[in-house]
Amino acid sequence: MSMIAVAILAPLSTTLLILLLRRQPAALAVLGAAVGLLGSLGLLANAFNGLSQKIILPGLPNMPLQLVATPLTALLSTLVAVVTTLVVVYAVGYMKKDREQARFFATMLLFVSAMQTLVLAGDWVLLLTAWEVIGLSSYLLIGFWYQRPGVSSAATRAFLTTRSADLGLYIAAFILIANTGTSDIATTLNAGGNTAIAAGLLLLLAAMGKSAQTPFTDWLQRAMAGPTPVSALLHSATLVAAGAILLIRTAPMLPSEVLLVTGLVGGITTIVAGLIALGERDLKRLTAASTSSQYGLMLIAVGAGIPLAALLHLIAHAAIKSSLFLGAGVFQHSRNSTLLTDLQGVGRDRPRVFFGYALAALALAGIPPMSGFFSKDAIIAASLLSPNVALLAPLALAGTLLTGAYMARALRILWRGEAKPSVTAGLGWMGAGMGGLVTLAVVLGIAFPSIKTLLNAQLPENPIYQYLPEILGLAAALSGLALGWLVPMRRLLGPLLPWSQRGFAIAGGFDRLMVQPAFALARACEKLERGLYAAVLAVGRSGLNIGRAVRRNDEQGIDGIIFSFVRATINLGSKARTLQSGLIHRELAISTVASAILVFTVIALLVY
């Protein structure tokens, strides 16, 4: 059996199994995720041996559905599977007290199988399908606790925002298919000229929606209403990563104009989202804003024309960000809150978890020798080599600085304060999942050289001075950490504080630009609907009136005539009955007289 099939079908069949059995969902989920991981590792091993696998399924005419395991897709598939497995292990503990475990784990694994399909898809049709399923299952997962206030609106907002941006992907895919006549992704990437510009910009729009780039950042923070393992998965390897993965896969096609736009979008996002994260009052929302910011950095790398750097950061970020979320989930269980004011000093309750969290935070900030250092430096190096170095490099460095600042602020709040020891169920499972991810976050840097050889790509060296990016990046990270730890957030943000706490009014702007027209449209539609409803009712009422008139006609006209005939006949009969007296003599006399009259009449007629 093909490893591709294992990687996709293991989670999918686990979903079905959980829904059918409704028993032991956690154990089944861990098993399914582990089998899927084995499949992905098999793909990766094959890729290292220079084998690439391909499955062609029947699809649209001349556009078969394809699943390909190139080195890049095998690597991404492994990433998804590893993060999934560890997050599912963590979720066993996190969801211990929840009554609807079956629904949770089933949706999680559906999500994962869709993500594997997306990553391994070799043609646009399959990619679009997987993209849709991801949107659906993320909606289901964000809205998992749908009874809680605000959760369903957060899920709807996430769904609608990403769906609107998804239109870009649709149009881009149609443009590419129409211009190249094939749905094979690798072939369509050869498209050039205006096709590439239009499709590239639309793909960028789709990626911006999914990866929560400015101005689509808002939904990601609201999506924190979902369970924490969902956030971990969503932010590291699946939903949000899908946008960056899309751009990384299509990067060879993007012309320089699109690359510039991509880099600028990423740069703006990394600054804006970084400032939002710095001003956040909620740990999970802070982490979410940080995700937007980190994906902004990846977009800078793509925009600089070196997608390898973005890929490395994607991989490192997957491990780091899921570690951070898993840590946040433990803290959340300890204090039953995610507000930073409630979480003060929670690190002292759970020192080991805090240690892991701190390692991940430092890795995200880019401190050597952890994975984030290498990936972030790759991005800074890429921005320095870009033709638009003057635009991109400062943005990347500022993003790094902000990363250090908000992570240091979070660490400081979590550590400073009084410990309030509490008992949390399922800590063992959570610790196991988080431990695995933190280990990855720390040591993943070792694997980067072999990833480069696997993909047969190298980061170009800086022509001015070989270690320039490392020095700049480290300086930015350290100064960011120092600022975040030493300077209070209010002073740091200064006049920007109210802006950042309102998310730079991006959500408000969106409300005015998109939501209110949508509501107005909905109201107009409702009015139209009411008109139609009234018209339909009027038609119905007139029909009813016609029916009533017909009925009256029937009852009083036709029935009346018939009944009057009947009545006349009855009257006649009762009158005729009086002749029948039963007295034979009378009847004989009548007969005799009548016969006599008859005879005389006949004779008279005959004679005259």
Partner: protein
């Protein structure tokens, strides 16, 4: 027209008149039936007289009379049957009392 035929017709008419009178004046079922017999007898006398004096060579007239006599016998049998049944049930054959068939 011969005198014999006229005499026979007068006899028939007399029989008819007596029969009608009897049928109308009597209240006993048996007497009423006797009146009916007389009516039929009058009719038969007429038939026989017409046959005898006008078409003596056509036997159909004779046959007609014989059929009427047969029918009279049957009618008597049925009529007396009804009378006996009535008598057994009610102890009387007075027709003034039999008004059950009133409409």
């Amino acid at each position: 027209m011969s005198i014999e035929l006229l005499l026979a017709l007068i006899t028939g008419a007399a029989l008819l008149g007596v029969g009608i009178y009897g049928a109308l004046s009597q209240t006993n079922l048996v007497m009423i039936m006797m009146g009916v017999e007389l009516i039929l007898a009058g009719a038969m006398v007429n038939l026989v007289a017409f046959w005898r004096y006008l078409h003596p060579d056509n036997p159909a007239g004779q046959m007609f009379v014989l059929i009427i006599m047969t029918v009279m016998a049957i009618e008597m049998a049925v009529g007396f049957g009804v009378a006996i049944a009535r008598f057994r049930a009610k102890g009387s054959v007075e027709m003034e009392e039999a008004t059950e068939l009133k409409g």
